[in-house]
Amino acid sequence: MNENILSVRNLDITFRTNAGDIHAIRGVNFNLPTGKTVALVGESGSGKSVTMKAVTGLLDSNAIINGGQILYGTENPVDLLTMPKKTLRREINGRQIAIVFQDPMTSLDPTMQIGDQITEGLLLHKKISKADARKKAVELLKLVGIAEARKRMENYPHQLSGGMRQRIVIACALACEPKILVCDEPTTALDVTIQARILDLIKELQRQMGLSVIYITHDLGVVAKVADFVNVMYAGKIVEVGTVEEIFYDPRHPYTWGLLAAMPDLETDDERLYSIPGSPPNLLHEPKGDAFAARNKFAMKIDERETPPMFQISETHFAATWLLHPDAPKVDLPPELKARLLRSRKAANYV
């Protein structure tokens, strides 16, 4: 018995493209403790969506898995990467691990009634009569907060607003009572007011159904709201991992510093935003040493030669930066960030 319902170990994935091989995932490790929410944070191209696709068995056909394991289950963990595709589809996808996609405008079938879309998975995975499946679908619609559920069953997606469509997508995902819900930027396409409601809904459902949630996003504000643990990804690697408090109140990796400082903050009146110079590396040409070194003003000589290992800061907090090496010089946080961290710690009474 272990406490993690999902563990990703040394995941390594390359994409074969016309331009050459892209080493998109370069050794990713993370755990999803049962009943908790783990966030994968990063910019586009950091590999967060590819990791999600590997977990859900949706990798494109040009992906080559060079190695690693994705262990699912607490009692007798099974490796999802070596499982035959057919078993994966029948036993795991939808049934155990379900996904909420980013854009509710495109993830629903425009020619199918809402009711049929929700029952589709149920009829496929469970021995259940059509009438029972529809009954269950109405319950699900009520669960995700859709008024007049019975009437909505006959609606088509275009008759609903964006927020309602995302609720429908969540209902579809929850139909077979999965253990893990993977949310791939579920609110990026929505307005802030709707976003806040959807996030509250996911949290409430998690509490009711004991779901474990993987949350993929680039928005640190959303992470602060939903996550228990945070994995910060950069160029196909996890560069910092910790509890949400550790990442937001005591970040150690310069990339996390940059991300936090670049977030506009409603509390301050700073005239200028801190921005991370440059742009993420192209993994077609794999960077040598620390991939972030070129954008990091604290980079040292060793960053150009050797990839930093994960240094441990606390039981749950790790970061991959040479700055944490005992021989490294002490660096001061950028002043903008220092002031902000102090303020946010104070607001949260965090010591």
Binding site: V192, A196, G221, F248, L260, A262, L273, Y350
Partner: protein, 295 residues
């Protein structure tokens, strides 16, 4: 205060979908933008913010209302001279840098298109020099002029979009959600760039966005749009410290903060959108802050 650079009076924009159905996207919006300032227009999707931008720059023909730009009326039928003036002095930066640049044209030609149309460069050398200079200003290199859009990242393409708008030396730039398609770390770069350019060229921005926190950084004044009406306008400080309209309050309460403990404690200010809307009286909170009382 001096004459406003842009004055929008009672702008209405309706779209006739069928004989019996008209979308009333903008229902009587009035505001002013002064030279050299940034006016932030905020609202959720469907509130009419993009439509306003497009009506002002005359991508749409306004149904009703008047628009004055630099003292000239630019609503209604445009004569050649006014149109020329408008096209030279008002420019737009579009939302999606992936789809707003012609993939078959070189960056240099995209940027210089305005110069070519208005015949502003006498010689090829002058054209090249101006394109090079503007590329440098937005943080790219003059050598990039020979490349095609697909060779650039999203952030770089949006810089090209900014360069294209800037080369005409416009007095007003309409920036329609110009950062929402970019990554967080790149958003900050682009916003800082826009601020630097404004300090240098004294151009005014009409900054259209749904992301309140970014709007706060860049805007001097803010207008909050809801269902095609401006429900609250004021200085940025006033809107953020003393929101009055329930819609503004709910918007502010929904912006996620990068602070987990605070975020967990926070409660959404709910907002009954069915009972809010329609016409109302405009009430002054202060000399610069006013609210539409339709709640």
């Amino acid at each position: 205060m001096s004459e406003p650079l842009l004055k929008v009076k009672n702008l209405r924009q309706h779209f006739k979908i069928s004989r019996s159905f008209t979308v009333k996207a903008v229902e009587g919006v009035s505001f002013e933008v002064y030279a050299g300032e940034t006016y932030g227009l905020v609202g959720e999707s469907g509130s009419g913010k993009t439509t306003i931008g497009r009506s002002i720059i005359r991508l749409y023909d306004p149904t009703d209302g008047e628009i004055f730009f630099d003292g000239k009326k630019i609503s209604g039928k445009l004569d050649d001279a006014t149109e020329k003036m408008l096209r030279q002095n008002m420019q737009m930066i579009f939302q999606d840098p992936m789809s707003s640049l012609n993939p078959r044209k070189k960056i240099g030609d995209i940027i210089a298109e305005g110069l070519d149309i208005h015949g502003l460069c006498a010689t090829k050398e002058e054209r090249k020099a101006r394109v090079g200079a503007i590329l440098k200003k937005v943080g790219l290199s003059p050598a990039h002029a020979e490349r095609y859009p697909q060779q650039f990242s999203g952030g770089q393409r949006q810089r090209v979009g900014i360069a294209r708008a800037l080369i005409m030396n416009p007095k007003l730039i309409i920036a329609d959600e110009c950062i929402s398609a970019l990554d967080v770390s790149i958003q900050a770069q682009v916003v800082n760039l826009m601020k630097d350019i404004q300090a240098e060229t004294k151009c005014a921005y009409l900054f259209i966005a749904h992301d309140l926190s970014m709007v706060k950084y860049i805007s001097d004044r803010i207008g909050v749009l809801h269902k095609g009406r401006l429900v609250e306008t004021g200085l940025t400080r006033e809107i953020f410290s003393n929101p009055v309209h329930p819609y503004t309050r709910s918007l502010l309460s929904a912006v996620p903060q990068p602070n987990p403990v605070v975020e967990r404690r926070r409660h959404l200010v709910s907002f009954d959108s069915d009972n809010v809307g329609g016409d109302g009286e405009i009430v002054r909170v202060s000399a610069t802050h006013s609210v539409l009382e339709n709640f």
